[in-house]
């Protein structure tokens, strides 16, 4: 189910110098804004939920998800080095589950943890905002990682597709077409946040929690299964 060598190769590739810098930029920005809000004294529950919902969950989490999810497998398939994993007596499910675990771990570090810290910096423990958003982020991250890891096994344009989904579908389309929001990882995360935060803050999600939970499970389990199937039949042709 989990192979430490696959994990080591994956996180070393993921946290290579350039990608690590990109991964640091967004959380750093979030924390900087949080500090600014706190220092200028405008921090209240409303500002905090706006920042964590409007920037963190809406932009930071999907972007980190795209970079990490596709980065966990896409480059190896692109340049063909995945052949060194595939030419081993390793179950394909082990490769995918290991990579997924690493991706979730890395998004935890670069998305959930900064969200928690930003929340704490702005409003401390007030209304459990910080914890609620952090948990929402973790759950959304799992879905994003699965989704983008899957896209990484399907398409060489995984990053583009991921960005289009994250920015166009979730952010833009969702604000015009209400139906699009039902199929939005961000909204599923918000449904969970809504349940977790104190009653004093208003968090709106387009999806009810049970629906969100079912959709999250379907995406995560189905996406993982399909990624394994894709890897089983991955052909390394096109060299000639």
């Amino acid at each position: 189910m989990y192979d430490p060598t696959v994990a080591r190769l994956t996180y070393r590739a993921l946290l290579g110098r350039r990608r690590a810098l990109i991964l640091c930029a967004l959380p750093a920005l979030l924390l900087a804004i949080a500090v600014l809000v706190r220092v200028t004294g405008v921090a209240d529950d409303n500002v905090a939920t706006n920042l964590l919902g409007g920037f963190a969950l809406a932009t930071l989490v999907p972007l980190i998800g795209v970079i990490v999810g596709t980065g966990a497998i896409g480059p190896e398939i692109d340049d063909g080095s995945i052949v060194y994993l595939l030419s081993k007596p390793l179950k394909r499910s082990t490769i995918i589950l290991t990579k997924l675990t690493v991706a979730v771990g890395v998004t935890f570090l670069f998305a959930a943890l900064p969200v928690l810290l930003a929340g704490l910096i702005m409003v401390g423990g007030s209304q459990q905002i910080a914890v609620a958003y952090a948990i929402g982020t973790v759950v959304a991250s799992v879905a994003y990682c699965t989704l983008f890891l899957l896209i990484g096994t399907i398409s060489r344009n995984a990053v583009i597709i991921g960005l289009v989904y994250a920015l166009v579908w979730e952010a833009l389309f969702g604000s015009f077409v209400p139906g699009a929001r039902t199929l939005s990882v961000q909204q599923w995360g918000l449904a969970l946040v809504d349940r977790l935060v104190g009653s004093g803050v208003e968090v709106t999600s387009a999806v009810a929690l049970p629906t969100a939970a079912v959709l999250l499970a379907v995406v995560t389990v189905g996406g993982t299964w399909y990624a394994v199937e894709r890897l089983k039949v991955l052909t390394l042709a096109g060299e000639e």
């Binding site: 060598t5 190769l9 080095s81 060194y84 994993l85 595939l86 007596p89 179950k91 394909r92 052909t235």
Partner: protein, 305 residues
């Protein structure tokens, strides 16, 4: 003793047939897979390495299917043609990772052994992205050997190697063949293949064109009709004199090129007779050049043979 059996295997991509009804066995010893670029060598190796499903037919390792059967990798070592490796690792880390992925009981010792076999210990602690092409090739080789497989598949292993590295690798492959391992390598260079492989499979345009030892393949190649482009002080007179000789079967006067196109059947005799005939008719030869020495034309002759 491990045998890879390719049985009426074809593979197509959309409308393009890359491998067309190929049947042969690869047994212990060194086998060369010879063919021009784009002939389907890599596709065949990918079929044998389990990275492509045959569209029809079967590819098996001692009667077990290779496709979708990751257990066969306990016995297969693969040296891919592509350069990409985990470049951020050192050579040692890379080979060690391969040893661990194979689940070897002592990956550290296996790594040291494999690096010694390819004589790469001296650069084992350098990152792969600082390696030359030949060094990369040798580390790839070490990663393929680390679990001591009974089958070794190499896709164009000599590409980009300097003559010394080439000799070393040939020596290594020869030794592995003598140990009773099944070694198959692809190449588009006849000289490379005949220096190393006792047995040669020739593949052209996806089809299995010839099979046998290098003497047989050599003979097929030199006995074929040769075409020459000849320019002289009097093309028409030379044409008349040449066609009278048994070494030629056809001559064409090419007005645009202002030259003769000569088809010779007896290669040895033609090259001796041409200057003699020209001299005795008082004709000066200006150009004599083989017009179809490209490997592709040699191969295409083999296909029709």
């Amino acid at each position: 003793m491990t045998t890879i059996r390719i049985d009426h295997a074809s593979r197509w991509f959309g409308n393009v047939v890359a491998v067309n009804d190929v049947t042969f066995d690869v047994g212990p010893g060194v086998t060369g897979l010879l063919g021009p670029n784009g002939a389907g060598k890599s596709t065949l190796i990918n079929l044998m390495a389990g990275f492509l499903a045959p569209s029809t037919g079967s590819v098996t390792l001692d009667d077990r299917p290779i496709w979708k059967n990751e257990q066969v990798y306990r016995e297969i070592g693969l040296v891919p043609e592509r350069e990409a490796m985990y470049d951020f690792l050192t050579g040692q880390e890379f080979v060690l990772a391969n040893a661990e992925l194979h689940g070897l009981s002592d990956p550290g010792a296996a790594t040291a052994r494999a690096l010694a076999t390819v004589e790469m210990e001296y650069a084992a602690d350098r990152r792969i992205n600082t390696y030359s092409k030949g060094m990369r090739q040798r580390v790839k080789m070490a990663s393929a050997l680390v679990h001591e497989p009974s089958v070794l598949l190499l896709d164009e292993p000599f590409n980009g190697m300097d003559p010394r590295q080439r000799m070393q690798l040939m020596e290594l492959l020869r030794r592995m063949g003598e140990d009773g391992r099944t070694v198959l390598f692809s190449s588009h260079i006849l000289e490379e293949v005949e220096q190393l492989a006792a047995h040669i499979e020739v593949i052209v345009a996806g089809r299995h064109a010839a099979s046998g030892d290098f003497r047989r393949i050599r003979r097929l190649m030199t006995d074929r009709p040769h075409r020459y482009l000849v320019r002289s002080s009097d093309d028409r007179a030379l044409a008349a004199a040449l066609i009278a000789d048994a070494s030629t079967t056809g001559i064409e006067l090419d007005f645009t090129e202002r030259a003769l196109r000569v088809q010779a059947v007896d290669f040895g005799r033609f090259t001796q007779e041409l200057p003699r005939i020209a001299r005795s008719h008082g004709i000066r030869l200006l150009t004599v050049s083989p017009s179809d020495e490209s490997l592709e034309s040699v191969f295409s002759y083999l296909v029709s043979a």
